[in-house]
Each structure stands twice: as structure tokens, then as C-alpha cells.
């Protein structure tokens, strides 16, 4: 492991009332790598992802992005970071129902101040890339779940982010659609050099990753490395 990781978390603790969602979790993600986060339900995977992305502030511990401490940033700075450096794909319900798919994809660009025409032109390129050319003018309510997820992938990548956070991106899809979404997501991420943090409990989905981190009771384990070291 050489050089500074892109994103690094260390000794994260986060409690919601009596529940300890994170209890000393650590993780390091290098630029361009795809890391799967696995573990049983309720073990703290989503919470870890939210902490890494600066959505949730951990109770203690550090999250550093390119060496900068995220938990020390103001809400505005973290929002800007998410807007410009990160992309997001959730399980469902992330598209704005009133906007067309094309407008949904263009939304992050527009929030950065890109002019509408240009933003939509760039969004249209992504539509083609994700084989979505014919859904651009439809609203999210009018497209299938798989198409919607691909729109979400396009939206996550349109700003050419450094990191994409995906929380169960195929959770609501069948195998075929799940495969397509994962394939398009990972291919596009590799092309653009984005790191992907992928929360999933499906091994076949995790198969698209470079390595996996297991979360159990709020603590992380890198089993593969432990096994290597044991040898």
C-alpha cells in the first residue's frame, strides 16, 4: 500500500441513543479502487458509509478525505464536498419525481452552476453511455426500477467525482438488472477513475469489487488481509 489513501476513517464511533451503530470502525480507500462493505443487517454498514461521505458526523474518530479532516468541516463545506467530489447511488427513491430523467442527471451539474444547456448536453452523453437514450424525457415514475437505478448511476458519475458511494444499489433489482447496473457502474467508475464504496450483502455484487471489508457489531475487519498475514 503506497501513498496516501483517498479516503480514510479511523476509530469511528457513532451511537444512536443506546444503539452503538459504529464501535471503532476503520477503513482506508485508495483512489480508483472498488471496495465492498459487507456484513449482517444492522451491523453499521450504512452508518459507516454516511460517515465516510460526510453525511453523518461520527461521535468520535477521524474521517480524512485527501488528508483533510471531514468531521471538522462546516455543513456548507461538507455539502460542497459531496456536490463536487462525491457521487451517490442509493437503493431507491433518490430521483426527484417532478424532474425528467435527463434533468435528474443534470441536477448535480446545475447545482455547481453549470448552465442548463451544457449540463443537459453532458447528461445526455451519460444517458447514451448507460443505454438510457429513450428514457431521458420521462419522469422517474414512468421508468422501470432498473432504468431508474441506471439514471441514478449516471447522476452519481456526471460530475466525474473522486468517489461514488453506493448503498445497496441493486437491492431492489432482479439479478439481470442488478448485473447490468453493477457492470455499468464499475466500468464507468474505472473509466473515470472514481473510487467506489459499495455497501451490499450480495456476494455476486461484491464480486465486482477489488476487495471487501466486513462490518460486524460496528467494527470493521479486513479478512483477506488477516488471512494473508496469518500465512
Amino acid at each position: 500500500m503506497t501513498g496516501q489513501p483517498l479516503l480514510e476513517a479511523d476509530g469511528l464511533h457513532k451511537a444512536f441513543g443506546p444503539t452503538k451503530a459504529l464501535d471503532g470502525a476503520s477503513i482506508a480507500i485508495r483512489a480508483g479502487e472498488i471496495v465492498a462493505i459487507m456484513g449482517p443487517s444492522g451491523s453499521g454498514k450504512s452508518t459507516l458509509l454516511h460517515c465516510l461521505a460526510g453525511i453523518v458526523r461520527p461521535d468520535s474518530g477521524h474521517v480524512r478525505y485527501q488528508g483533510a479532516e471531514i468531521s471538522a468541516m462546516t455543513d456548507g463545506e461538507r455539502s460542497a464536498l459531496r456536490r463536487t467530489q462525491f457521487g451517490f447511488v442509493f437503493q431507491f427513491g433518490q430521483l426527484v419525481p417532478e424532474l425528467t430523467c435527463l434533468e435528474n442527471i443534470a441536477l448535480p451539474l446545475r447545482m455547481e452552476g453549470v448552465r442548463r444547456r451544457e449540463a443537459e448536453a453532458r447528461a445526455a452523453e451519460w444517458l447514451d453511455r448507460l443505454h438510457l437514450a429513450d428514457v431521458g424525457r420521462k419522469r422517474p415514475g414512468e421508468v422501470s426500477g432498473g432504468q431508474g437505478q441506471r439514471v441514478a448511476v449516471a447522476r452519481a458519475l456526471v460530475t466525474r467525482p473522486q468517489a461514488v458511494f453506493a448503498d445497496e444499489p441493486t437491492g431492489a433489482l432482479d439479478s439481470l438488472n442488478g448485473e447490468r447496473v453493477m457492470r455499468l457502474l464499475t466500468e464507468a467508475a474505472r473509466e473515470t477513475g472514481a473510487a467506489v464504496v459499495l455497501v451490499t450483502h450480495e456476494a455476486r455484487v461484491a464480486g465486482y469489487s477489488d476487495r471487501e471489508i466486513v462490518v460486524r457489531d460496528g467494527r470493521t475487519r479486513d479478512i483477506a488481509r488477516e488471512m494473508e498475514e496469518a500465512l
Binding site: 465492498a36 459487507m38 449482517p40 457492470r183 466500468e187 450483502h201 450480495e202 456476494a203 455476486r204 461484491a206 464480486g207 465486482y208 469489487s209 477489488d210 471487501e212 466486513v214 460486524r216 475487519r221 479478512i223 483477506a224 488471512m227
Partner: protein, 174 residues
Amino acid sequence: MSIGHTFLGLLESGPRHGYDLKKTFDDRFGHARPLHYGQVYATLSRLLKDGLVELDGVEPGEGPERKRYAVTSAGVSDVELWLASAEKPEPYLQNTLYTKVILALLTGRSAADLLDVQRAEHLRLMRELTRRKAGGDLADNLICDHALFHLDADLRWLELTAARLDDLRRQVRA
């Protein structure tokens, strides 16, 4: 699957006769194919030779069925290692995985750890298959998918069982 490792695991709870071991093994793991006595005693004598078990006592009378075996500390570490190491992912692994899970339960070890280790191993192969799929033609794809789904099924079963057994143990302990 390894009968020797299973015997060692079973012996962890206390010394037993060979007959005892066969009966327990057949009850728990032998579903379709009960062990032969010959197989039992051949295995035991190999373990004895390797120093993994020792004779705990010989009851009066003749024949191998009079001997009681106990596991040695070397035997315990051998089971330990076996349980902690991943099986090479291959189709029809259930029997071994099943045995491992039950043994883990019987010997008070965490099924979750077993799962984690096995998953890491499985994932290594699955990544390989997934990569091959991306580059390959349709036939490659179909073959890889077949393998992937089977590996996935193994993991899912293991996952489910591990979760259940951990729950079960928690209940038993409580």
C-alpha cells in the same frame, strides 16, 4: 470433507469410544452414508499415530471397541486451524461447510468467523469469475455465471446458517 477433523472436534467435548464416535458422526453428518467401522478405526489409528489423539483408557476385554480416545492439545489446534481456514471454493462443498458449522457450534466457536473467512475465499474466486466474464464471450459468461450462482448459493446458505446458529447459541446461553 475430513472425517479426522470431525472426530477431533467431537472429542473436544470429552473422551469417547470409537463406537460412540461413529454413532454421533452418523447421526449428525452421515445422513445418507453411515461410516464403516473399518473407516472409523483406520482414521483413529492415523490420528493416534500423528499424536492428535491419545488412548484415554482400555476397558477389559478384546477388540478395538474397548478403547477410549481423547483429543490431545495438538489435536485441538489442528481442528482450530481447519475451522479457521477456508475451503477451496468448489461446487458441492455443502457437506464440508455443513460439518464445519456444526462442529463450530458443538465446540463453542463462532460460526460468523467461519463465514467471514470462507466468504473472503469465495469472493476471491468470484472476483476472478466476474473479471473473466467482462472479457469473455457468451459461452464464457454462461459458464462463469453458473459457477458464480453456485458459489453465491454456498455463501448464502452459510450466511443464513451462521446467523441462525449464532442466534441459537445466544439463546442457549441466555
